[in-house]
Amino acid sequence: MEEFHNGNEGSFNSDEADNIVKECIEGVVGADDYSQNLVNKWTAGIVERCLTQLVKQGKSYKYIVTCAVMQKTGAGLHTANSCFWDTAMDGSCTVRWENRTMYCVVSVFAVAIA
């Protein structure tokens, strides 16, 4: 039983998750312009890449990753989260990224397993 608990510092490290997510977004979308045809591929790619990178950390968490990509037209966008969980062990992190033609908002929620 001892080895099982050693990998966990006890709570979610949101700075590390922040960096992982930023790298994934840059990797997938980087310098491209908003394109209706490609947006499906982008959101799927960003989300899958983030998830695989997070899982590589090897911590005992379940992950929920959401990504919203929006074209820049001057319109406003707001996101809000409300969570019912164990505040000691679980955590979230939200990353806002933009380039010349679009906004990208990625949220990661990590829920501890037992």
């Binding site: 989300v47 379940k62 959401t66 406003g76 809000a80 929620f109 829920v111």
Partner: protein, 120 residues
């Protein structure tokens, strides 16, 4: 979270997270709070927070004990722009699930997603 029955590794069939039920909860609240509302950049931040909290309370009261909930609300102005939202989850497909709903009116769009994760 109560500590009784900690040996349960799967929810009982009756207590499983039911997407259809949760979707109804979301629909009712969103339609009640957002019909006839115009997008206003001053009010929308507060509105999205209260919407997330009310949806969370309602789903909690629907009786999904032992489930940890994550509610995400996205409200945006309608100006003919394109938006795409997607999500992936790493969890136990037997016990965990999600529900979502989209609401549109002339001046705004609102998306609510509720993810439920079973606490063993």
């Amino acid at each position: 979270m109560e500590s009784s029955d900690t040996f349960l590794i799967r929810p009982h069939h009756q207590h499983k997270f039911k997407p259809a039920v949760v979707k109804e909860c979301i629909r009712e609240i969103v339609r009640e709070k957002l019909s006839g509302v115009q997008y206003d950049p001053e009010e929308v931040p507060q509105l999205s927070k209260t919407l997330a909290d009310s949806v969370k309370e309602k789903v909690k009261n629907a009786g999904f004990d032992r489930y940890k909930l994550v509610v995400q609300v996205v409200i945006g102005e309608q100006r003919g722009q394109g938006v795409k939202m997607s999500s992936r989850c790493l969890w136990d497909a037997d016990s965990d699930n999600y529900a979502e709903d989209v609401y549109l009116n002339d001046s705004l769009f609102c998306l609510v997603a509720v993810f439920g994760s079973y606490h063993y």
